[in-house]
Structure formats: C-alpha cells, structure tokens
C-alpha cells in the first residue's frame, strides 16, 4: 500500500509542520517576555537576584511555559531533521519514543531546577 504509506507520511509531516509553526509563534512571545523580565531591565542578574526573580509566582509560571514550549519546539525540530534521513518505520518509531522520553526528562529537569532555585529565597 505505497499510496496509503505516502498519505500517512504526508499527514504526519503536516502535523509536525503545524506543531512547529504554532510552538514557534508561542516561543517568540514567551522568549520576548523572558528577555524583557530577565535581561532587558538590568542586564545579567546576580545569583541572589535570579533566586528572587524565579521565586515570583508569575515569573515561575512563565519560565515553565517557556521551558515546555522550547523543549517541544527543539525536539520536534530534531525529529524532523532525523526523519529527513529516510529511516524505516521501525526506526522512526524508536526515534519518536526516544525524543518523547528526552522531552519529558528535559521538562522534569527544568521544573526541578526552577524549584531548587526558587527554594533558595531567604526567609
């Protein structure tokens, strides 16, 4: 069923393209907010300033949204690059599963990191 296979790949490719486009636009918005609150006002923050900054609930949520968006966009992009190598269906599935696990680990790592940083706020 080569035609069905081609249609399936085309549909997946379209979904990936839409996913990249939507996450890319969202990423630009949260990146601008990240830069505005984190860097544009006073330049590079010192360690204690970063801790106080991340401990603010709105900034904490913004950073987590940023983390999830950038991880999704980055790993979907990596998947599209790898899929250009014309892999077999089994290899594609292994790559998809591997990148999904990597994404979950990355987001988990980032959330733990944000908690570790914000928990250092004195008082």
């Amino acid at each position: 069923m080569p035609q069905l296979e081609t249609k399936k790949y085309a549909q997946r490719s379209l979904f990936s393209w839409i996913g990249q486009a939507v996450s890319g636009v969202l990423l630009v918005v949260v990146l601008l907010l990240h830069m505005l609150f984190q860097h544009f006002q006073v330049g590079l923050l010192t360690a204690s300033e970063v801790v106080a900054h991340i401990a603010r609930p709105a900034i904490f949520v913004l950073e987590i949204v940023f983390l999830i968006t950038v991880t999704y966009h980055a790993l979907l992009g990596i998947k599209m690059v790898i899929f250009d190598l014309k892999l077999s269906e089994a290899a594609r599935q292994r790559v998809s599963v591997g990148l999904t696990i990597l994404g979950v680990v990355t987001v988990g790592w980032g959330i733990i990191l944000a908690f570790l940083i914000s928990s250092q706020l004195p008082g």
Binding site: Q20, A21, A47, V50, A74, D84, K86, L113, I117
Partner: protein, 135 residues
C-alpha cells in the same frame, strides 16, 4: 533542476554532503540549511543553559557569580552575539516560511530571505549596542 533538500531520497551520504557542503546550491537551499543548523545549535544551547544553571545557581551561588565574570568578558559578549544572530535568524526565517506558505508568495523567496538576513543582522547589532552600553 535542483530538488529541495530532504525531499529527494538519497540516504545519509547525500544528506550529509548537502548539509556540510551546500556550496553551489540555490539560495533556498542555503536558507533551509541555515535554518536547520541554527535550530540544531539552539537545541544544543538549551541543554548547555540548563546544565550551567544546574551546576552553578542550583547548588552553588558563588559559582554562578564567578560564571558572570566570564559572561561579561569579551568571550561572553562574542557568545551573546552568536546566540542572538542564531535566535533572530531562526525566528525571522520561521516567520518567512510561514508567510510564504500561507500567502503563496513563494516566488518572492529570494527577497524575503535577504530581508530576514538584513533584519537579523541589524537587530543583533542593535542588541549588542544595548549590551555593551548597559551599565
């Protein structure tokens, strides 16, 4: 007629040659390759950023403040410039691709590509001016 990269089957060797040596290729291929390389480098930077923050501020705030000395040095400034151009090119080229696909104005891609390059360079230059003049 040149086929777009990634569309024609040809295996790893074909793609590696295109990716590493896209010389004598069309402007569209260069835009594609630059978009892919900037994306891959930014994905690597995501993990470097998380790693640096974990190794410094999460466990040792003094180490982070020492890291800031490097970040404010000429090497750090050059790194910032490289990071900015990657982000700006990748983001603006993403908008270019979306605009070209949704508007159907694919035949104007050469002008759009050069607009992206000029805008990314100008915004990087302006950002570097802000960084260098920041007290």
């Amino acid at each position: 007629m040149e086929q777009p990269i990634g569309v024609r089957a040809g295996g790893l060797t074909f793609l590696v040659k295109r990716w590493i040596f896209p010389l004598k290729r069309s402007l569209g291929t260069w835009a594609f390759v630059l978009n892919r390389w900037s994306g891959v480098l930014l994905a690597v930077y995501l993990y470097v950023h998380l790693g640096v923050l974990t190794a410094t501020i999460a466990f040792n705030q003094n180490a982070y403040d020492q890291f800031l000395v490097i970040a404010r040095s000429p090497i750090g400034i050059v790194f910032d410039a490289g990071l900015l151009i990657l982000i700006l090119y990748h983001a603006l080229n993403g908008f270019r691709i979306g605009y070209a696909a949704l508007s159907g104005k694919i035949e104007q891609h050469r002008g759009q590509f050069w607009a992206v390059v000029v805008l990314a360079a100008a915004l990087t230059a302006y950002s570097m001016f802000l960084i260098l003049t920041l007290k």
